[in-house]
Assembly symmetry: C2
Homo-oligomer: 425 residues x 2
Amino acid sequence: MSETTSILIKDTTILSDKIKKASILIVDNTIEEISNDLSVTDASKVIDGTNKITMPGLVNTHSHVAMTLLRGVGDDEELQTWLNDYIWPKEAKLDEKLVYAGSKLAMAEMIKTGTTTFNDMYFYMEETAKAVEESGIRGVLGYGMIDLFDDEKRKQEIKATKNLIKNSHNTANGRVQVAVAPHAPYTCSEELLSESKKLANKHNLKLHIHVSETQQEVNDLEKQRNQTPFEYLDSIDLLDENTIAAHGVWTTDNEMKLLKEKQVSISHNPSSNMKLASGIAPVSKYIKNDINVAIGTDGVSSNNNLDMFSEMKLTALLQKVNTMNAKTLPAQATFNMATENGARALGINTGSIKEGKLADIVLVNMNVPHMIPVRNPLSNIIYSALGSDVDTVICDGQLLLEDKKLLTINEEDAIYDAKLAAQQL
Amino acid sequence: MSETTSILIKDTTILSDKIKKASILIVDNTIEEISNDLSVTDASKVIDGTNKITMPGLVNTHSHVAMTLLRGVGDDEELQTWLNDYIWPKEAKLDEKLVYAGSKLAMAEMIKTGTTTFNDMYFYMEETAKAVEESGIRGVLGYGMIDLFDDEKRKQEIKATKNLIKNSHNTANGRVQVAVAPHAPYTCSEELLSESKKLANKHNLKLHIHVSETQQEVNDLEKQRNQTPFEYLDSIDLLDENTIAAHGVWTTDNEMKLLKEKQVSISHNPSSNMKLASGIAPVSKYIKNDINVAIGTDGVSSNNNLDMFSEMKLTALLQKVNTMNAKTLPAQATFNMATENGARALGINTGSIKEGKLADIVLVNMNVPHMIPVRNPLSNIIYSALGSDVDTVICDGQLLLEDKKLLTINEEDAIYDAKLAAQQL
């Protein structure tokens, strides 16, 4: 941002690691002060926070945002059929322009439903970076590398990632970070995986990868290597605190130990895992084992939206029924997954409302029938809210949504462009 | 309604048993004509249906709507603790005025999220009937009878139901129907259950009951009677096409046969069953066995909202992962559960958009980021939509919601009254 701005959120209910009533002063891109003594003269912009829950912007730790263009493609099909017969043939037709349109539409949706940071893996990521820069959201962007065990392809993929790092890493006032993103152990050669990790280490980047999504994938790897996916990845030194593994549905007890020891973060994607019948991830077991587990939406073809509020509720409900214990994953633990655990996974100073944190903040309207009464704001956010209750969004100190109106994206244009783009797939 | 009204929904995408583009003419409370030849001069009110999905109003087949006042009470607790320590002590303080306020708030929420018919079991149901009459929604209302095996209490409970029948059945132009509602086999004596069924038969009413919600309940009954819940209910002639059994989580194969033979309807409540860790109902097995299965939200304390769109998505996703088959419960089957199966369960001429059906119709806005592109409107409704996408609601030929604004309920008053009421519990 070129000029210093200040925003005061006055007299609000703050939901973070605990609930309190106060005002919040944002200066430039940082939460400067949280107190009851702030006055309207302290800031150039004042937002009335009464009747609102003010919470950290949500962190979506696994997405393929440009897949908005494929919304509704291949519903009610198995993962492999869905990929081979529906998704991949359409993805082969993607180009820069289409990815830009799909990304822009996704950002409109994410901002309107309270997501301020997302961790993405896809193609033509310079285009997604451009959309991030323009829309004001925060993105960790990885080019999804797939070599299918082909040497030539591997070189091209690594080159594409190197270009992305050069072109986009740490741009847009730091809102764009680049990650190294080999797609999965079953689509990437050992060489590609190893080179990926070296590249990530060299530039101090996160490594984002799909692991242990389906039982089939685990069985195949065990046949080939006599190792489970995380054991394999550990054997080639891929696992550490910079690794974000999406899914982790079929993780064994031995792998749990590895994940804890290596401080790997897991991105849990309940809608996708349920819709594609991949399985139910052992989220409560991750938490018991002190493994950092966050939440992701996955791409919209397997969801079919980017609403993190639905994903939070689903995360809690699915673990309760899966463990046959209603006490499993209470509201605060679920909330942490979608906020501070996500921030920790991505290594970004966001995910909670504290002085010194980045000003990534969402205000939720409580004055609607389905949020009344407000006995416990946290309960209302996890179990009652809809993504559409988000009223105001601030990211990096910039106002992106006010009274449900997008300020940095022309919504009508984004919809029009995405409709046209989708017709070409 | 005192005067004949007509509404034309012009040029819309109709989603019912199939998808088609047409206009819809409503005369009085009935769908008079569906065609492409209707003109704006045919009706006194014209609604522009372009960019909208027009679908039947959703049917919520199991609720306790006045429990909106208990939103957020006893989260993350087991069913029995939740009931004994949290819900029942507060319910003991309920009175007419509080139930009216809670019901009115619920109707605001239901209408805004596209529900036009609900099947309710609670206390002070004359108050809920009054709220139904005023708000224009359609309700099947049962007084929840619990005698705890006490003779005196049983007589009082039956008397309360008889009063409700006399006061409220078939009122509000038929929008209020009364059902006989013994709470559950574990809270009602055999005498109460038998008398309930006789009373239902005498007045040709539906019988609404909780059955087989938890494994504990099934185990207890088997110990006491050496019968499973549906076997027991069948042995006292309670099961027939007028029975709506809520939950049905632990239904055995033998019970499946009974349910089919007796044409019992099941109300599936996925959020509640997950949140209270009751279990996963065998929905796809019900469907395979040709048993009519519909969807309910249950009360908001175990959900915590009344949004049937969330419930539809959850129903599909939960069955897919539970059967480990992504093809299980495709979008159309899920849609049918929330519409025509619900209407069949309740014996009301609603749940689909066909000439001669009651005019219970919902228009959903497609022109929002998370509904773009619209490759398949059905997919967008089941997997992408939020309840807040509902734009227009018509029930019994009367417009209840237009441009997301409630026309028959003063939303501000409903919120204010419910907040005050909740403070008394």
